[in-house]
């Protein structure tokens, strides 16, 4: 199995080897079995979405629907609620929030990572604390505040706070900037560069992958956000996809195949993003999780 076996006597090596092969088989069985279990609900969603109204209630179950009812997708998407409208709304919120965080988080992170100012470490501790505060705790006064500002039934309650930079992203960016060697800024400073130029010409190009990670996390977060839009949006034409799905779910006389079809469509952007940008996800999770 491995090269170290050369120095061990052949008989003993063979016995160990059989045991090792057996262990390997068990490991692969567990990994593949677990992967199938994890994939099964998604397979089930797609399978159900392609069934006719009768087929979803047929026993014994039809795992692969014949013939697949592709028209379910079109009917469910455009037959009942303006899902295209919801999709655009979700994109507007996600886009605004991404823009806000991309602009602010690196600036603030640079300040925490590189500049020395009074109370900086106190504020950094506060930053860490704010990551631990449950949203439910500030939800009510935030609502009162935004209600009084006339922001109910607008996207401002989501987008404006994003321009202040999310604590999590600032922390993530700061960790990333800390890994950049100080010599780079020092050299630039000796050459007469100011802080903003150092930030924009040296730091920013080096943390571009981090910006992509922020954009992806924010997109997924906003795409799946339900509680916020539920509180602030009451007009149907402003609904996001999750709100639309939630209303659609309560629609009478519709079967699971339609719900599955729309759910499936609403997840497609997440799937695509996941497969295209997987390494950014993993990098982001790893940096914030490990280098605390």
């Amino acid at each position: 199995m491995n090269s170290k076996g050369d120095i061990i006597s052949p008989v003993w090596y063979k016995r160990v080897s059989i045991r090792r092969v057996f262990t390997r088989i068990v490991i692969y069985l567990l990994v593949v079995g677990g992967a199938l279990i994890y994939l099964f609900p998604l397979f089930w969603m797609i399978s159900s979405s392609l069934k006719s109204n009768d087929q979803i209630f047929t026993t014994p179950i039809q795992w692969i629907p014949k013939p697949p009812q592709w028209h379910n997708y079109i009917e469910a998407w455009s037959g009942y609620y303006p899902f295209t409208r919801f999709l655009i709304n979700s994109c507007i919120i996600a886009g605004g929030c991404i823009l806000g965080n991309i602009l602010s988080a690196p600036l603030v992170a640079y300040s925490f990572a590189r500049l020395r100012w009074p109370l900086r470490d106190v504020f950094f501790f506060i930053l860490l604390l704010t990551m631990l505060i449950p949203y439910a705790v500030v939800m009510v006064p935030q609502f009162v505040l935004f209600y009084k500002l006339g922001w109910v039934n607008t996207y401002l309650p989501f987008i404006v706070p994003a321009f202040c930079g999310g604590s999590f992203y600032i922390f993530f960016m700061r960790q990333l900037i800390m890994t950049i060697p100080h010599e780079l800024d020092d050299a630039a400073r000796i050459d007469g560069c100011g802080s903003f130029n150092i930030f924009s010409k040296i730091i920013l190009p080096l943390i571009k992958p981090g910006l992509t990670a922020i954009a992806i996390f924010e997109f997924i977060g906003q795409w799946n956000n339900f509680m916020g839009p539920l509180i602030y949006l009451t007009k149907m034409e402003l609904f996001t996809l999750p709100l639309g799905l939630n209303v659609f779910r309560t629609q009478a006389g519709i079967y699971m195949n339609s719900f599955m079809a729309v759910s499936c469509l609403s997840l497609i952007p997440c799937f695509i993003l996941f497969f295209v940008a997987q390494r950014y996800f993993i990098q982001g999770v790893v940096i914030t999780g490990l280098k605390e």
Partner: protein
């Protein structure tokens, strides 16, 4: 000499001003969207308040009525604690188990890692609707598989006894999120440690217990804290899948808080609930950090 010092202090002052300017967006956000709401919510908790019209001082009235006469408050707290006690440790165990399996030098690691991680990326209403159907007692995925094994499926979301376990089961589908963190933790454990232990005659299980767990304990601490705080806020699943039912068995804390605030417009009472939640999660996090020096190992002796 004097002018040099003066020059230096000028530079320091300049840097301090720049520091605040760069941090300004966040500082503004901190004041308006976090600090002010925290204080306001504390103030509201002493009032009878419905946003639209009156605001009446009632002292500790909200807290007293919650603790003394609001049965649903205790139900929601019990449900949330029940959910947390199972979902958080089980999620950590499942995540760690997958990570350990994937760390065995297997082929196709990237593919398997994606498969396990994918469900953690999708969440919210679409996934809740998917799980309503997965958990359907007659035609659902789990009922079908249990049927093959000759077992009668429980009426998952329709049975007060099974509704919470059903949501916990669903949460384990998302265990891939912590798996990614564990996996990178495992990959950073120096292999010399294992080789040395092997020479001393330790078996795999002993290695896992005495090397792996201590070496990744900072990661375990991180996932424990974030997991706890996350699970105390469980909302979407309960709102979409069961709306707190059956018989309030999935009425979680934040769901009840949401109802108080936005269905009954009892902002004062909801604020009192919010502060109790902040207190509970704060104390839990504090206790875990305090005890962490006993079980969390930082290599290099640094915190």
């Amino acid at each position: 000499m004097y002018s040099k010092i003066k020059n230096k202090s000028k530079l320091y002052r300049r840097e301090a001003i720049e520091g605040y300017l760069f941090a300004l967006p966040w500082l503004i956000g901190l004041c308006t969207f976090t600090a002010y709401p925290l204080i306001a919510s504390f103030v509201y908790s002493f009032f009878d308040y419905n946003v639209y019209s009156y605001m009446k001082w009632i002292g500790l009235g909200n807290y007293i009525s919650l603790i003394k006469s609001d049965e649903l408050f205790w139900t929601s707290l019990y449900n949330t604690v029940y959910y947390t006690i199972f979902a958080v440790p089980l999620g950590m165990i499942v995540g760690l188990a997958i990570a350990v399996l994937l760390n065995q030098n297997i082929k196709g690691l990237a593919l398997f890692r994606s498969i396990y991680y994918l469900p953690a990326v999708i969440s919210g209403v679409a996934v809740s609707i998917l799980w309503i159907w997965v958990l359907d007692p007659n035609f659902g995925l789990i009922a079908t598989i249990l049927g093959y094994l000759g077992i009668n499926s429980p009426n998952w979301l329709g049975d007060p006894l099974w509704a919470k376990p059903a949501l916990i089961l669903m949460s384990l589908w998302g265990a891939g999120g912590s798996m990614i963190i564990y996996l990178s933790g495992l990959q950073s454990v120096p292999t010399e440690l294992y080789e040395a232990a092997r020479i001393d005659g330790a078996n795999s299980f002993q290695c896992f217990l005495k090397i792996t767990i201590p070496m990744i304990s900072p990661v375990l601490l991180f996932t424990l804290i974030t997991g706890l705080i996350g699970s105390f806020q469980v909302f979407t699943q309960a709102y979409v899948m069961t709306n707190g039912g059956p018989l309030n068995s999935t009425l979680f804390y934040v769901l009840y808080l949401y109802r108080k605030a936005f269905a009954f417009m009892q902002m004062g009472n909801a604020s009192a609930m919010a502060w109790i939640l902040a207190l509970i999660t704060g104390i839990l996090a504090y206790l875990i950090f305090r005890t962490s020096s006993k079980w969390v190992y930082y290599s290099g002796g640094l915190k």
